[in-house]
Every structure is written in structure tokens, then in C-alpha cells.
Symmetry: C2
Subunit: 155 residues, 2 copies
DNA sequence: GGGTGTTCGATGAAGTGTCAACCACGTCTA
DNA sequence: TAGACGTGGTTGACACTTCATCGAACACCC
């Protein structure tokens, strides 16, 4: 007996499903808002935010990839698309001829400056405004703990 | 003064980022596990689970789409791919000649029966085991509340 | 110096999701 | 009953992500 896996209790099942649902709905809604009223995807947004936080708006693919936790292939494809739209440019790297830099353009800065306030407002209206500070603390703690376990587990 | 949007407080910023990170990491990890050791995507899994919970493993596109909260286009594309792999079949509908049914096949049942225990175990090991029952309750409540606000807002 | 192995990034293919347009069938109404 | 409208599902184009593979450049070590 007992070779069957432990199934979820009703509470666990319910909590897990609610959580998944929250991710799908909230993520979808925020992505759609960002796209329709700023022309950026969540990924574009993340790249641009990061580049504005870095000296000269300029960083190696490698380092940007690490910061965003993106695979190098994803970096390459995505930056190529963003470069096609003029949000960033690719620059050769003198010190290491294999490498390259991603550099934010003026258009990229303009895009993120226009998008950020709206996005923050959306995060407030759709999420933060409906969560108490205590709940938010619980969420943050739990998130960090689970992520750090994931990191321990398999790098 | 004050035309600038309310920015996030450091606590809000931190909580929000941790939460996003959790979603990306946990979701990615679970998806990869499911894919590599059962050959199913999360979407495949959701479809098959739902079909096993329904009489004769058979449901209208429409109803399945509503249950999963998928757009009809997504249904059509995804079911076509799953049918190509033999997990489900499409069946014409006698009562309404426009409509169609999605029906799980034996291969589909076999796939989900093999995948489900592993997936549940993964959800436990990667998530539930690191969250207290109290935290889980908070998460569930908060998720439901936010989702219901999203529903109120714009259908 | 000349392997040997490693790192950086590019590339192509395949699966996924969204949007917009479309078609075929049903329903309602004048 | 004919025309208008609504509904169920399909299709094609495009954006995004992952995977596997590749070529070029670097680093180490004999």
C-alpha cells in the first residue's frame, strides 16, 4: 500500500489553484496594459528599467542576462528585436572581441519614462491597493524563502 | 506639483519584485519538470486534468475554454496540436453543426495518470513544503480577493 | 607556440499565445 | 421567409521562449 503519491489536501489544492489563477490573470492584465498603452512587453520593460539603472545605460549581454536571469539565447533574440525597434543598440566590445554591449537609445529612454508611471499605477490599482501591508510582508517573505530554496536545489 | 505618479515604497517595491521572481522561477521550474519527465506542457496538463473530471472525458470547446479561461483562438490552436500528438480528438457536434467536442483519448489518460503524481510531488517539494499553513491561507485569501477585483473591474 | 577546453553570443526550428479577420451555422425579427 | 445579427470555431500573421547547435575568440598549460 501507499505507492500512490501524497495528493493535495483541499486547502492546499484551493490555495495552489488560487495562486496560479492570480498569476495568470494579474500578469495577463498588466502585460496587456503595458503593451496597449506603451507599446512595450514586460520583457522590454525589464530590459529598459535595468539599463536606466546602469552607468551610461550600457551593459554587457552577459551581465544583463545574469541580472534579468535570462538565458543567453533569449537575450540575443530579444535584444535583436528591441534593436530593430530602435529601443537599444548593440555595440561591439573592444576588450573582448566575442562580447558585446547593449546600450539604451534616446528612444528607449523616452519609452521607459513614458511607460513607467502608468505601469506603477497599474500595479497599485490592480494589486497593491487590494493587499494589506501585513499580507504583503507575508508574501514577500514566503517568496524569498521559496526562491532561495529553488536556488539551493539545482543551479 | 504632484503630477508625478506615486512611486512604490521600498517595501512595496521589494515585495512586488520578490513576488514576480517567485512566479518566474517556480513556474519555469515546474514547467520544465513536467515537460522533461512527462512530455507535457502546463497547458496540456490543464486540459487533460479537466477532461478527466468531466463525463466521458468529453466537452465542448466552448465550455472547456470557459473552464480554463482560455480564448477560443487559443483553444483551437492548442487542441489542434494536442490532437496531432494523439492526446485528444476533435469530434463534430450533432446538435449544433458549428460546434465541436474535445475528447480525451486513452493515450491522453495514460499521459495524465503518469504525469499527475510527479507534478503534485514537485509542487510539494518546490513550494508547499516551504510555506506554512498560515502563509498558505494568507496567499489564498489575497489571491482570491485580487482576482475578484480584476473580474469586477473589466470583464 | 599549439593544442584543449571554455565562454560569448548568434542562429534555426519548434511550441506557445494573441490579435484580427473570416466562415459557417443558428436565431431573431420585420 | 429573407435579411440582419450573433455565436462557435478556424486561420494566418506575428511576438515570444526554449532547445540544440554552431563559430569565433579567449585562457590555460604542456
Amino acid at each position: 500500500m501507499g505507492e500512490t503519491a501524497r495528493w493535495l489536501t483541499p486547502e492546499e489544492q484551493h490555495a495552489w489553484r488560487s495562486f496560479i489563477r492570480l498569476q495568470e490573470r494579474l500578469g495577463g492584465r498588466l502585460a496587456r496594459l503595458l503593451q496597449t498603452d506603451s507599446g512595450l512587453s514586460g520583457a522590454d520593460f525589464a530590459v529598459l528599467v535595468h539599463l536606466t539603472d546602469v552607468p551610461d545605460g550600457r551593459q554587457r549581454y552577459q551581465d544583463l542576462g545574469r541580472a534579468l536571469e535570462w538565458e543567453k539565447s533569449r537575450m540575443s533574440h530579444h535584444i535583436a528585436r528591441m534593436a530593430g525597434r530602435g529601443l537599444v543598440v548593440r555595440e561591439e566590445c573592444a576588450e573582448d572581441a566575442r562580447g558585446a554591449f547593449v546600450v539604451i537609445t534616446d528612444a528607449g529612454r523616452a519609452a521607459i519614462e513614458a511607460a513607467a508611471p502608468r505601469h506603477v499605477e497599474a500595479v497599485r490599482e490592480l494589486f497593491l491597493d487590494h493587499v494589506t501591508p501585513a499580507e504583503l510582508r507575508v508574501l514577500a517573505q514566503l517568496s524569498e524563502r521559496v526562491v532561495s530554496k529553488l536556488d539551493d536545489d539545482r543551479p
